[in-house]
């Protein structure tokens, strides 16, 4: 993989990535470029949107670090940066552990065990 040219992307936090993914058009764009590098025009052809709207979606995805942009001559080619999803996978992996941690706290707070202190 060659490093992507253009403006450097600061690592995006999960909030930025989630907001970028909250839009169905943007998710569709990511699907399109998941396995193929595509120029903007070819991406736009999949949508009933103005070129400008598609371009805005591409910008949001780039800022979130989800999209790599490469210039080839006069064209800009886009592809998915799948590694950018890793922090979110990690967060997801923590969802149920976090929830069960809260469950444990909640139950044990509501039902403090007193018999542990008594000799048996």
């Amino acid at each position: 993989m060659t490093p992507e040219p253009g403006e450097p992307e600061a690592p995006a936090g999960p909030d930025v990535v989630l907001r970028a993914l909250a839009d169905p058009h943007r998710r569709q764009i990511l699907r399109l470029v998941q396995h193929a590098e595509l120029p903007a025009g070819q991406i736009a052809a999949h949508f009933d949107l103005t070129q400008q709207a598609v371009s805005q979606h591409l910008t949001v995805l780039k800022r979130a670090g989800l999209l790599a942009e490469r210039r080839a001559g006069t064209r800009r080619l886009y592809s998915l940066r799948s590694e950018s999803l890793q922090p979110l996978r990690t967060l997801l992996d923590e969802f149920w552990p976090d929830a069960l941690g809260r469950l444990k706290q909640s139950v044990e707070r509501a039902h403090p065990r007193t018999e542990r202190r008594r000799p048996t």
Partner: protein, 129 residues
């Protein structure tokens, strides 16, 4: 598939209702719960801006509860598309809670190997984006 376990210092009969009683459910997950804990009954939890929707498949107090899980607004993870099974194992006076969240329907696109988008929909609901 996600598998998680936790040990809780209370017997299964105490822990079980935290998965079936709305008032107890919201002490640890979501902000609002609408639960009808019987097979076919509603399972609905709201998180911030999103929600998880499904229905109970099995309710066997105090040993096991199974419900489906999905996100209504998200076509990639519709209600009913994934299943959460919770098994409560008594251990001394404690309960081991074993939770398994299994999948998540086969992808419409076979090449879409990791199904990350569905995962992210779950995540989005989880963090109440």
């Amino acid at each position: 598939m996600i598998s998680v376990s936790v040990r809780i210092a209370a017997p299964p009969a105490v822990v079980f209702p935290y998965f079936t009683d709305p008032q107890l459910m919201v002490t640890w997950i979501g902000e609002r719960a609408d639960l009808d804990a019987q097979p076919g009954g509603t399972f609905a939890i709201d998180f911030g801006g999103t929600s998880a929707r499904g229905s109970y498949l099995a309710v066997e107090p105090p040993h096991r509860v199974v419900f489906t899980w999905g996100i209504p607004q998200d076509a990639t993870l519709p209600p009913g598309s994934s299943t959460v099974e919770v098994v409560f194992v008594a251990d001394g006076g404690d309960t081991i809670v074993n939770l398994t969240h299994r999948d998540l329907p086969p992808d419409r696109e076979p090449s879409h190997r990791e199904g990350w988008e569905r995962c992210l929909a779950v995540l989005a609901a989880a963090v109440g984006q």
